[in-house]
Structures are given as structure tokens and as C-alpha cells.
């Protein structure tokens, strides 16, 4: 029993790192421009398909493909900001919510027509690693490691490079940043692109060990919301910690309850946190 618990917990924690990266994308966009990107899930799903086709079609190593997918997701975010978000960035929440949701529908609609909703699978295996009582798939270990690296890179970017500092300045006070000569539109576009890139990276990593459909993104989007709120919307490091919390919950719940209770519990947790501590367990970065 104890071994089983330990195995489930470690399994959950490893996937939790990846969930954290996905949530970071969502939380970054909210923190900088107070927009909730409702196309988050479909972008994750598109990244999964990107990995699949680069791997199965072009025989590319999935981790090499991941770099390409990340670039594509960044580009997608820049374009999406320019076409969809920029016009309504100063409008009430309703407009940005509906605008990003419209993108969600277009991706899901077209994706369903092209790929159908049958599952795809990246047939990629790096074997297993045995550590005492634990047997861990290597792909999951790499995914967790990559997530930590991505987080570190994001923090380095935000705190040590000029564009990253510009993003933080705009997040802090857009008007003041403009007065200091920061081109806020470009910075917002970059932040949006970074957010979608993180979603893409998370999707790509998940695709290396879980089968997926075009609708899978929705599940991860919901998890990202829960995690973001758990860690405090707008706080990237909180998102990573929130990811670990949710991952371990997801590992442990199925030991005690049927697995299809997981979304009910996740959603319950989400509502409770929104009610009790809307700023998240670790406080939002203001």
C-alpha cells in the first residue's frame, strides 16, 4: 500500500511539473494584461498534433520537434494578439473573454473536422528507470526536467534581460511604462506570445507520454485554471507549485476513488479557492 501511494505520488508530481508550465502560460498573460486566454487548451492540443506530425511524418526526434513547436506557438501567439486581442484589450472583460473564446471554437471546430476526435499517440519510448521501489518512464523524467529548465529560463528572461524587464514594467503599470519609452503594444504582444509558447511546450511534453485527441486541450486548460488560481493568478512560480499540488492530488485520488471523480474534485477545489482565497495560496503578484 505504501509503495503504491509513493509510486502514485511521484507519478503525479512528475506530471505536475508539466501542468505547472501550462498554467504559467495562462498566468503570465493574465498578470501582464488582465486577459484570460480561453484559447489556451486548443493551443496545447495543436502543439500535441505538431509533435505527432513532426515525429510520425518527418521522423524528427520529439525533443527537437518540441523546439520547433515552441517557436510556432510563439509566432501563433504574436499573430493572435495582433488580430484578436489588441483591438479589445481596453474593452470590458466580456470582450476579451469572448474574443479568445472565439479562437478556441475555430481551432476546435477545424481540428475536429480535420483530425476527427479519435485518439493519436506519439509512439516514442525511452524505457524505464528503476529507483528502489519506483519504476519511472524516462520520458516523464525528461518532461519534468524540461519543465524546471523552462521555468528557470522564464525567470532569467523576466528578471535579467531588457525585454523581460519591459514585460514586468508593463505588467506593473502600463501607462507609466509607456511614459518611460517602452512600446507597450509590442511588449504585450511578446507576453502573449510567451504565454502561448509555454502552452505549446507543455502540450508537446505531454504528447510524448499520453495519447491525445483534439479535445484533450480542454482538460489541460481546466487544470491550468485550477492551478493558476491555486498559485495566485499572475504569479508564475506559484503556478509551478500549484501544478505540483494538483499533480500529486491527481496521483493520489485514484488510489481511493474511481478515476472519473478527479474532475469533480478538481473543480470543487477550484471553487473553494476562488471563494476562500481568490488571490491564491501564495498571493498574486501585483
Amino acid at each position: 500500500m505504501l509503495n503504491q501511494l509513493l509510486a502514485s505520488l511521484v507519478d503525479g508530481l512528475l506530471i505536475g511539473f508539466v501542468y505547472g508550465v501550462a498554467a504559467m502560460g495562462l498566468t503570465l498573460i493574465w498578470g501582464v494584461m488582465r486577459v484570460i486566454n480561453l484559447a489556451h487548451g486548443p493551443i496545447i492540443a495543436l502543439a500535441m498534433f505538431g509533435i505527432y506530425f513532426l515525429f510520425a511524418g518527418a521522423n524528427l526526434n520529439p525533443y527537437l520537434a518540441l523546439a520547433l513547436v515552441a517557436m510556432a506557438a510563439l509566432l501563433f501567439g504574436l499573430v493572435m494578439y495582433g488580430i484578436v486581442v489588441h483591438r479589445v484589450i481596453n474593452a470590458p472583460h466580456l470582450s476579451t473573454l469572448l474574443a479568445t473564446f472565439a479562437v478556441n471554437m475555430m481551432i476546435i471546430g477545424t481540428g475536429t473536422a480535420v483530425f476527427t476526435t479519435s485518439p493519436f499517440n506519439v509512439d516514442f519510448d525511452l524505457g524505464r528507470l528503476t529507483l528502489g521501489p519506483l519504476t519511472l518512464p524516462v520520458t516523464r523524467l525528461i518532461a519534468a526536467g524540461a519543465s524546471v529548465l523552462v521555468t528557470a529560463a522564464l525567470y532569467f528572461f523576466l528578471y535579467r534581460t531588457p525585454p523581460g524587464k519591459a514585460i514586468r514594467a508593463v505588467a506593473n503599470n502600463r501607462d507609466a511604462a509607456e511614459l518611460m519609452g517602452i512600446p507597450s503594444s509590442r511588449v504585450l504582444a511578446l507576453s502573449f506570445g510567451l504565454g502561448t509558447m509555454l502552452a505549446g511546450v507543455a502540450g508537446g511534453l505531454i504528447a510524448t507520454f499520453f495519447p491525445f485527441t483534439i479535445l484533450s486541450g480542454g482538460t489541460y486548460e481546466l487544470k491550468s485554471f485550477v492551478i493558476s488560481v491555486l498559485g495566485g493568478l499572475g504569479n508564475p512560480l506559484g503556478a509551478l507549485v500549484g501544478g505540483l499540488v494538483l499533480g500529486s492530488l491527481e496521483g493520489l485520488i485514484p488510489v481511493f476513488l474511481p478515476v472519473n471523480w478527479v474532475p469533480v474534485i478538481e473543480f470543487g477545489l477550484f471553487v473553494v479557492i476562488l471563494l476562500v482565497r481568490p488571490s491564491g495560496l501564495f498571493g498574486a503578484r501585483q
Binding site: 488582465r34 474593452a91 470582450s95 476546435i108 471546430g109 480542454g218 471563494l275 481568490p278
Partner: protein, 324 residues
């Protein structure tokens, strides 16, 4: 006060539109048209209900279809397991939906704007998972009606007509209620929440309370229609009942016609539903229905955020008296 507000031409125009749509099937006695108009009226009622939340109060609810589903399940349970008559079962479905809205409203409507929208996204999934695991509602296999049930309504054909007229009456009721809300002090409070929630609260609007009641009002009729719809269907199962895209299409309809107007949701729902019927039968667009809905939503948000009726009202001041 009510009698004077009932003389507004805007209300009668909307009701007339509903009546014209509703009169087509009885005049032609065509079963196909009846089924089409049933769906159309259902969406008119959904869109007008959602408009109370989305248009008047400015709160987007991404899971509004959950009230239809829950009402459908509760009504169906009352019909099949408890042998309640249809009217009572429909009322039960509406009450269940209202109770859920009250519960949700009391808990999550303290949240402002975007946080509320986030919370509504998960409702659908959570409810589906709950129903899938809930034994009295049949779990994943759902429930079905014994065919003999239709006998007490004068046979299946007669039962279909009864549900049709009920939906027509409910649709007219929603339009009337959303007009009464709009022209009341309560509705004024809702609109001021939409414009500036802090200012509204300073002016004495009890925002959390008003929002909750708006949510409850917008949930009742979708719940009742749920019971009627699944009575007509004869069976109910989670995969069939939980159609997330209907939530989304409701939003598109409201935005297309004009959020916050009375005629807008009626017009938007009728137009969108006709378009959708065309798209579903056209071989090219058959699979791209959702893409099309998304594209129309995006175009509306970016270029005519006030919707068709709002746009007309802004362009042609003379029409403002008629286009409520």
C-alpha cells in the same frame, strides 16, 4: 407602472416575432417544421434567458446549458421514476435549475467579472462527471421513458404538439419576463452593475444579491425546457445531454442580435438557427459548424460589439422607440 410599461411597442414587436415563428407549424400542420421551430424557439428562450445575465448584468456564463441539462435530468427522473404529470415535472426541472443557480450564485457570484467566467467553465464538466456517477439518474447509461407514458397525453403525436405549445408559451414568457426585468428598478440595478459595479454598490445596489437573482431568473426556463425536450426525446443520457457547444452558441446568438436588448436575442437566435440549419445540410460546412460560429463571434466582438439591434439603435435614433 406595469400597465404603462406594457404599452411599449418594443415589447410587442419581440412578442409578435415569437408568435409569427410559433404560428408556422400549426398553420402548415407539418411535423418537420414543428421539429425545426421547436429547436428554434428553444434557442430563442435560451438566448433571452442568458441575455439577462450576459446582456443586462455584463457577466458571461460559459456553462449556461447546465441548467437545461439539470432540468432535463430532474424532470425526466420525476416523469419516469415518480410518474409525475408533464407540467409538474417541468416545474420540478425549472425549480432544480433555479436551486442550482441560487447555490452557484450565492457561492461564486461574489466573484467579479473574469473570475466568475472562469468558474462557469468548469461547471459543465463537473456536472457531467457527477451525473455519470450518480446512480438514481442511471449513471452513464441514462434513463428512458416507457412508451405507454405518451398515452395519457393522447398518443405520441398529441404529446409532441403539447410539448411544442408549452415551449412556445415558455418562450413568450421569457421575452415578457426579460422585458419586465429590464424596465424595472431591479433591471436598472443590473445595468448599473454592468457599467460600473463599484459605483453601483455606492449607489445602494446590492450587487451580489442582484446578480444572484438575475442568475436564478435566467436559469428557470432553460430548466423547464430541458424537462420538455427530454420528454419529447423519450430518453436521456449524459453524452446526449451535455452538449457544451450549445452553451457557446447561446452566447453567439445573444452577441449577434445585440446584448442587453430585448429584440436582439430573439432575432439573433432565429437568424443563427436558420444559418446553422443551412450549414448542417451543406456538404462543405457540415463539419465546420463550430469554426463558423467562432468566426462569427469574433467578427461581432471586433467590429459590431453592440450586435445588430444595438448597431441599428446607434445608427437610427428614430428606431429606438420600437427596437427595445
Amino acid at each position: 407602472m406595469i400597465s404603462s410599461s406594457l404599452r411599449q411597442p418594443g415589447l410587442w414587436l419581440s412578442l409578435l416575432l415569437v408568435a409569427v415563428i410559433g404560428a408556422i407549424p400549426p398553420l402548415t400542420q407539418s411535423a418537420t417544421l414543428r421539429e425545426n421551430m421547436f429547436t428554434l424557439l428553444m434557442f430563442v428562450a435560451f438566448a433571452s434567458s442568458l441575455n439577462i445575465m450576459l446582456g443586462y448584468t455584463g457577466y458571461v456564463s460559459f456553462g449556461h446549458i447546465v441548467f437545461f441539462e439539470l432540468g432535463g435530468y430532474v424532470g425526466f427522473y420525476l416523469l419516469s421514476a415518480q410518474k409525475w404529470p408533464l407540467a409538474a415535472a417541468a416545474a420540478g426541472g425549472g425549480l432544480a435549475a433555479a436551486a442550482l443557480a441560487l447555490l452557484l450564485g450565492l457561492s461564486i457570484l461574489r466573484l467579479r467579472g473574469a473570475y466568475f467566467a472562469l468558474a462557469t467553465i468548469g461547471i459543465n464538466e463537473a456536472m457531467r462527471a457527477f451525473i455519470n456517477n450518480f446512480k438514481p439518474f442511471g449513471g452513464p447509461t441514462g434513463m428512458s421513458l416507457n412508451f405507454a407514458v405518451y398515452k395519457q397525453y393522447g398518443g405520441p403525436t398529441q404529446a409532441l404538439w403539447i410539448t411544442y405549445y408549452s415551449v412556445l408559451a415558455l418562450t413568450a414568457l421569457v421575452v415578457l419576463v426579460s422585458y419586465l426585468v429590464k424596465s424595472s428598478k431591479f433591471g436598472l440595478g443590473l445595468v448599473s452593475i454592468r457599467e460600473d459595479e463599484d459605483a453601483a454598490m455606492v449607489m445602494g445596489v446590492r450587487a451580489p444579491c442582484a446578480k444572484t437573482w438575475a442568475f436564478v431568473i435566467s436559469a428557470i426556463v432553460p430548466g423547464m425546457i430541458g424537462a420538455l425536450f427530454f420528454f419529447k426525446n423519450g430518453n436521456i443520457e449524459p453524452g446526449d445531454a451535455f452538449r457544451l457547444h450549445m452553451s457557446i452558441e447561446m452566447i453567439v446568438m445573444v452577441m449577434l442580435g445585440g446584448q442587453g436588448t430585448l429584440l436582439g436575442p430573439v432575432l439573433g437566435a432565429a437568424t443563427y438557427q436558420q444559418l446553422r440549419t443551412y450549414l448542417l445540410t451543406s456538404p462543405i460546412f457540415k463539419n465546420l459548424q463550430l469554426t463558423f460560429a467562432g468566426l462569427s463571434l469574433l467578427v461581432i466582438i471586433l467590429f459590431i460589439p453592440a450586435g445588430v439591434v444595438g448597431w441599428l439603435r446607434a445608427r437610427l435614433p428614430r428606431l429606438r422607440r420600437v427596437l427595445e
